[in-house]
Amino acid sequence: MTHRTLLLATAAAGILSGPAVAQNVLDWGANRDIGSLDPYSYGDSFTINVLNHVYEGLVRYNRDLEIEPALATSWEILDDQITWRFTLREGVTFHNGNPFTAEDVQASLERVSHETSPLKGNLPAYVSSEVVDDLTIDITLNGTYPLLLNDLTNIHIFDKEWLVENGAELPTDIGAGVEGFATYNANGTGPFIVESRQPDAQTVFTVNPEWWDEPAHNLDGFVLRPVGSPATRVAALLSGEIDFTNDAPVQDLPRLEAAPNVEVLEGVDLRTVMIGFPFRETLVSGEPNPFATKEVREALYKAIDLELLHERVMRGKSRIAGATVAPPIPGYSEDLDTIPAYDPEGARALLDEAGVPEGLEFEFNCLSDGLVNEEQFCQAIASMWSRIGLSPQLDVAPRAVQTPKRTNGNTDIYTLGWATLPMLDSYSPLLQIFHSKEGNSGVFNWGGWSYPELDALVQEAGQELDVETRLDLQNQALRIVKDEYIMLPLHQQPMAWAVTDSVTEMPLFPDNKPRLWFARMNGDS
């Protein structure tokens, strides 16, 4: 009976711990919980973001989102152009006291690129690695590849010994019928240590006094509390039960701004919200699928009043988007960022030309726990499409329920938000969304489209080391995306964090990731 021993273990820990006495403990009210303590078992930006406080990569983003050394101190590309040599930081230890070595890097890279790993798409170029000595490792790629460092920022490094001891060398496979040890235990090198975790209730992190870096923060720890209801989150913030939320509901910002003890941090997220289409023969209903026709997709775009969505649903806080990547992302260009005029009559005319019948029914798949105000903008768009004589069947449910339908092609039209994380480059959506679905490419190509010309451009860019040339290739590929209406960009979603006056510093990042190792609170510590 495994659970009995676990209960005893928690019991023993509980007697010793008692109520915390630390001063600067930041209560973080998030809109949802992390999926697991294993960053490789859950391919999801938020989970990886939170676990980044515990686990670190070889390199990391600094305050200005530039790449800087982390667990690796330097790197070079060897003469064959496809092998990278990393020199690792000395004197780093994991939370369990084990020293950090090249063996750990190798075990982690193998683990994340294992074929059952949901995160293997995040390290697409990896082929193999070789331990040169304790603090040097060679990583071999499948070709010249410009974006390895970007990828590595979010490939968290595990302790090999710990993985082996606990039988967790492979990513958690729920089908195996055993609990994954790494799912509810964590052992990284990062600034915070996981003290306890109760899924959906709270996860307690304490500061790692042995962290290799000079901390910019003054926290003694933080507690991640998922508070799903936006109203409760606001109430909790106003009453000071939580110190920080990375998801202040857009509709409540005026109220929060008016509160004397709360400060709202606003910006525009890098995440571009898009609508995707099925390219299969038939719709889920079995009817012929009209959306593989470019003009039909164009019609659906014209029928959406982007201005009104921006003004009403997003309360003027979003940035209307014509391009599938945000302006700060390399590869963006202004001439791609044009939006069509709202023209329901023109849209209906296009549908008539394409022979789309009145009252055509199709599923419109949205998430209840996904993008900012997703349920509302989906309803609004469904209503706009109804007005050009279509019958969208809105299907709103949590991510965990919708994702299987989306990946299995078991739905028609769907929403997708893409922030190009962790790469912060337009190569990311081109490879993961717009490229045909083959191997590690097109993992999020849920509609099943294939544009050989686009694929060729993406592949060429993927091996081009010269930045200018590469971005030009990517720009051409994005042009195809735009002209073919492969996906319809709606907006870059607003980003709103809020802190109470107990927090003195909380830098806002355009990738919408809280990095609490930069946060400061006003208690003495």
Partner: protein, 330 residues
């Protein structure tokens, strides 16, 4: 008496087996567990292999027996969503729910009994009329509306009490309690009141009805005639007579309150079993749903059986009556 005990226990076991059968049906018929467990890249061969390993190719009866055998040992498998042992998940949440339910029960008794007595002894007064009306309003207010109103008033407007969560908890062995810390106690107030609203009116109405009956009995009239003070007759002699049904009701309602707590837990984001269950429902996490169903039914059936047995012990006439005391729906 022994025969009765055996009979009631056998009945309870039968009921639990039937509930287990229902839970098992949910397990079997609701989607394909393999599809929910494997990741998208899994091949057909891997799926078939997993199917075999999970015993999904065995006969229906074999699978049912295995499910019950595992369930009796507290093994419900692994949560699809949290990838953790289901019993550990539920075990962590159980104290939160039970504490909420017990506090709500205490509130319902402390408030409900005096109100019931007052409405009975001042039967025709304006106050009693108001209280009676109030009690109808009490059963008519959906508990989630009560919860929302409480949050609006006491958390948002007045800022007195927390709007969500359990506050700080202390672990005593495997039990985590919020009763020992100020923030834990503060966090308990609003959810407990919101859960107790319905129960208060139930207790109040029962006490009123019982009191009205008792007050008509000769025994009370004699006591009055002998010069026992009115207050003492009402609050001691008469009330004592009403307590048995109240205790019975309270005992049987605990099962219902545990189930109904899931609404309160949703409103207040209270980290109990109910919230776990509701999340399991939205995420189609079958093992958690099945385990919760069995556990709550088990508590329910156990309490009902205990009440029946106690009654039979107190009143031998009931021993050959097969009719049950009947669960109330709430």
């Amino acid at each position: 008496m022994l025969a009765f005990l055996v009979k009631r226990t056998a009945n309870a076991v039968f009921v639990m087996l039937a509930v287990a059968f229902l839970a098992f049906l949910i397990f079997r018929s609701f989607g394909d567990p393999v599809e929910m467990m494997v990741n998208e890249q899994a091949t057909q061969a891997e799926r078939a292999e997993l199917r075999e390993r999970l015993g999904l190719n065995d006969g229906f009866l074999t699978q049912y027996v295995r499910f019950v055998t595992n369930a009796v040992q507290g093994d419900f498998g692994i949560s699809y969503r949290n990838q953790q042992d289901v019993m550990v998940l539920i075990g962590e949440r159980f104290p939160a729910t039970l504490e909420l339910v017990l506090v709500a029960t205490v509130i319902s008794l402390v408030v409900g009994i005096p109100l019931g007595v007052i409405t009975a002894i001042h039967r025709d007064s304006r106050l009693a009329g108001m209280l009676q009306l109030g009690s109808i309003v009490g059963v008519s207010l959906p508990s989630f509306v009560v919860g929302i109103l409480l949050i609006l008033a006491f958390s948002v407007t007045l800022g007195w009490l927390p709007a969500f969560g359990r506050g700080e908890t202390v672990d005593i062995g495997w039990w985590s309690t919020g009763l020992l810390t100020p923030s834990g106690r503060a966090a308990l107030v609003l959810p407990a009141i919101s859960l107790a609203t319905f129960q208060i009116t139930l207790v109040m109405r029962l006490v009123r009805a019982e009191m009205l009956e008792t007050l008509r009995t000769d025994y009370v009239k004699f006591a009055r005639a002998r010069g026992v003070p009115r207050g003492r007759v009402h609050w001691v002699h008469a009330l004592r007579n009403c307590l048995m049904p109240v205790i019975t009701l309270t005992g049987m309602q605990i099962g219902n309150l545990i189930a109904f707590a899931l609404v309160t837990e949703t409103v207040f984001q209270w980290p109990g079993m109910g919230l776990l269950f509701i999340q399991a429902v939205t995420f189609v996490d079958i093992p958690v749903m099945a385990a919760y169903l069995l556990l709550v039914s088990f508590i329910f059936v156990t309490l009902n059986t205990m009440v029946d047995v106690t009654y039979a012990w107190v009143d031998p006439r009931l021993r050959d009556d097969t009719a049950e005391v009947g669960g109330t729906n709430g």
